[in-house]
Symmetry: D2
Subunit: 359 residues, 4 copies
């Protein structure tokens, strides 16, 4: 198990879906940051369940406590511990799933690796763990905001419904105004109805979250292994249900010629070196070049569905896993703040590491 991420801004998350609490310790946050609890709560609220009828109806207030690291409203350079109590721990009988391996869940692999598992609501493998990431990511965002860096994610695809416009043509601020978090209101409405239909079928569907980073200075990223996009990719792929990551021209870029794909440099009016195009996605050789960073993260359909499925139990015997309870028919609306949080955690770590680049 490795629930620790980061070199200088290091986070360690903990907690199971139906344990008493989840949380995170941030070890290495610089001192002197104004600790905006309202902002952190706002970020948690963006991720929490029950926001609309197309997200799970689990009831969690997701309010957090600060146990350490903040004094007189500011960070102290000491570890910041944040915890979120689990309030919706239904005292129900888990007997029916305690011995079953749900298809495409982590039940079988956890059981095999660790010899046992907390089967209540997925235990540690539940996406509930990402609330802790969002809390830590909010702190990272506060630091980045001081440096003028903004991170904005949004839903660009649900099933086969695709947002056809690229981010420069969109007003990203609109994404937060609908339940799907798609910045094109019309597409958002189509996606909403589509997801709601999936929900009524007791099924689930995948989607894609796009993310844009603006205001990032050139120089962030630590080649050769900790290239900026490699760390972003790892961070995104560590989120539950993610199956793919691409940045800049991504998979589509493989079909281009070098002469089409290369981003020529020029000097803008302010004397700053810029690129005419941005196929590079703001990263060259693993280091930010000062242009916008953009990347896409693919989420599979949620494994929990309200349908019967064949499976086996811990003894290898055939069983029918029956769908009941609450589920997210599509994870991407709630994944938007998670993607932003993980991006913030990567960027703030790189920001701090970059201070040691030159004599």
């Amino acid at each position: 198990m490795s629930s620790t991420y980061g070199t200088l801004f290091k986070i360690s998350t903990f907690g199971e879906s139906h344990g008493s609490a989840i949380g995170v310790v941030i070890d290495g946050c610089p001192a002197g940051l104004a600790f905006d609890t309202d902002f952190i709560q706002h970020e948690l609220d963006r991720r929490k369940p029950g926001q609309s009828r197309i997200t799970t109806q689990r009831r969690e207030a997701d309010e957090f406590d600060v146990l350490s690291g903040v004094f007189e409203g500011h960070t102290q350079g000491t570890p910041i511990a944040l915890i979120i109590r689990n309030t919706d721990q239904r005292s129900k009988d888990y007997g029916h799933i305690s011995e079953q391996f749900r298809p495409s869940h982590a039940d079988y692999t956890y059981q095999t690796k660790y010899g046992s598992r907390d089967y209540r609501g997925g235990g540690r493998s539940s996406a509930r763990e990402t609330a802790a990431r969002v809390a830590a990511g909010a702190v990272a965002k506060l630091l980045l905001a001081q440096a003028g860096v903004q991170i904005t994610a949004y839903v660009s695809q649900v099933g086969k419904l695709k947002l056809e416009k690229a981010y420069p043509e969109l007003n990203l601020a609109l994404a937060e105004e609908n339940a799907v978090r798609c910045p094109d209101p019309e597409t958002a409405e189509q996606m909403f109805q589509y997801i709601d239909g999936i929900r009524k079928q007791g099924d689930s569907i995948g989607g894609i979250v796009d993310c844009v980073v603006t205001g990032l200075p050139a120089g962030l990223g630590e080649p050769v292994f900790d290239k900026l996009h490699a760390e972003l990719g790892k961070a995104m792929l560590s989120i539950n249900a993610v199956k793919g990551f691409e940045y800049g021209s991504g998979f589509a870029g493989v079909e281009q010629l070098g002469s089409e794909h290369n981003d020529e440099f020029y000097t803008d009016e302010s004397g700053r070196v810029r690129t005419k195009t941005n196929k590079s996605g703001g990263i060259q050789g693993g280091i930010s070049n000062g242009e916008d960073i953009y990347f896409r993260t693919a989420f599979k359909p949620v494994a929990t569905i309200m349908q019967d499925q064949d499976s086996v139990d811990v003894h290898g015997q055939p069983v029918t896993v029956s769908g009941k309870g609450r589920h997210d028919p599509c994870v991407v609306p709630r994944a938007v703040p998670i993607v932003e949080a993980m991006a913030a955690l990567v960027l703030v770590d790189m920001y701090l590491r970059n201070k040691a680049a030159k004599v």
Copy 2:
């Protein structure tokens, strides 16, 4: 700069394209492994330049020396240092590029981050560094082979030319029999001609490398941050020119319903728990489930082209970057052993880490 990768099987690579040598130190290789130098050389030969007319004509023998860590033919548990002398260091005048920023290369970002750069052949940002990875990866492969694990990569796309069959329908052994490393001879030939045409135009083209891992036991991977696919993704994205990574159903999976996408479990004749389908790509919850792992890595067209391009110099003044010298018109044939090497490095580290999972 972070040229170190791994938690227990830790590698540290070094060297610039036109310095005296490149190499790698492997810190944490278990003792007692038969050190097969022929196999390591064979892997390096698969990556080396000049293998056919569609790869760069740079002349490098890429022969390696073992400086430490091996005694009487076996690893000792001590650091293994491998170096490869750079033999093709043409004593030419680099004046024309020493002050220019080549489009979509790392010249500008290295200069900005570090305040200077070794401009000879791209210095540290050159893909020449990956020879050191291939050498270390070969050692990792030797360890994995003892545990019955096989890693096989191949070219599945060049530009718009796609291999339409999935890996179970292919004879992957055929990939090594042609210069493109595509296991379908007919498609391989088309790709070869296509790349050769690109080469004659002085241009470059992207492509995709697929990779399949067989024989891996269930239980490898360290959630929540070091999920097996997250580390594989980071490793692939750390390779020069990579723009995207997906595993299992990948980006296409987002269009599926949960009821289509879920992999139902069954028990096979030998009593082993298996999945009927493998959309999960052999990984569930970040941990291997014993099925084949497969993933895809997208490479952009190489930035070096034999054409004039607009750019700026280190003073911000406009310049024309003229293409000359030697280049790879398409990187994917030589990327195949690099993808395998990075996969091996991830898997062997996870293999060793997994030993501490249970009491």
Copy 3:
């Protein structure tokens, strides 16, 4: 700030002396360990304040909650979060010390490094943080006990009062039977009276804690940098007030000839390779050799004294720091379980790392 320790059994502590809670996240504890909460509480009780009149009269129950990582009485391989609420947070006026630098405390260095500090009871620099280490160390001890490893520390010196016998001549079980934790009852009584006299003077005194590890197999330790004694030394030196560490023959060993100091090998009746003497302290070349490990840790007199002292304030102006409140006149009796805990954390990490030593 780095509050994270360990490579595989990784702990991250948090909390300030007068914040709402302190605690620890253990990331990497193997699954399947019976989680003995009584034992953990017992260890915390050994460290807690108010055990006798020669320790601080601060009132802390030091009861802990398990937030995660334990299910049905066993560890799950997932992060174990333990918190201890701070109950004795007197709502007093800290005005008198909020701007003063107490001599030989960390007030000045924290203020300089971080630009501010939590001045309440020393904040993060308070030894209260070590309760979290003791809780984590108790978990480590549970793991080691399964492998037959026992760790026993005791007080061997207070001021100039020295226990003249070495550990093989002592009944270490007696250490827990007196308030000083010295295994020789007569010396213990002398030490108690001496410390009590110091306490009445409002002064403090240093001391030495010895520690013995028995039952450890040969092979633990990771040279060349993570030698077993180097990690033990770092761990001990990371405890508040520690000024020195030695193992085996230690500082006294420098006066011996090699012919006196060398530990000759022999084979015992059971066929096990042993050493006739143990100047090496159970460690050779940084790796355990199967003999007892023993080491000594020196603690300075506690900086808090009930006397007036000259100092300066945050503005550099002269002030008189007046002693009031509660203090430990001698830290070593309560340091005994902390030394054991840190030793356990080092040993369990090495135990897990050693699993990857050989093919």
Copy 4:
């Protein structure tokens, strides 16, 4: 095996005593440092064998090659690889020791941990490895010198011969003027004669190296685990033959009262906060306070002696280990540059990490 040290300025050493080469990769050295090869060679020369008749007569030029990371005389932010060829690899018969466990060497523990060992001259456990540390430490010293930091070590004790004066009373520059590296010429001469006598007996003797760091700014060190003195302690204890470490008042400090031991603060004429005394050894709460840092490191007598000793072989059978060949009768004169090098490596890493302490 862990031959990697450091968080940001990370070194990875490699090489066996009688392999083809030893060396080090420095990953994370900031760009822009003037790379003074003469200085690095000078430091290596201070450590090399054969400097006088009281050191081993092994013949090694210890000249180094720079394989990477330096361009046009400056570091590039890329990994710096330095290698030193082993020139004195006598093609002798090692048969007599290949199966014997030399007393108080690492033969038995390496054999047990790794299942085999390079028995030629101690293989990886040989102090020859420290040449790589000295080379890396010299680079660290170059960086620290730019910040005004000086590190000076010297011999303060050999056997029972002690230098009675503390460092402020000594002219440390004199240490390099004699073969013992003791700054008091008279004591140095006594030590020299004493060691020479030991040598003639074929025996060995221990000693102590003191080290003083001046010019270090306040603020370095990363509590709670990576306290400055904890990292210094680990670094010293990782050097071959070290048995103990103390800083500031050290072990002697335990006998003092708090009222004697506390360092009162005052503001000096320049407005800088200082301490009247320095029992703290320049470190409070694990962070440098701007005063001189001083610490002491104890070295046991070298295990290699020119006398017969009882032991066992790899089969557990009794053998007589006979002393022959070349040895250091006392290791401390050559340990002086090693102590300095390790201190430099710790300090430069802390210097870089401290850049991220505040917003």
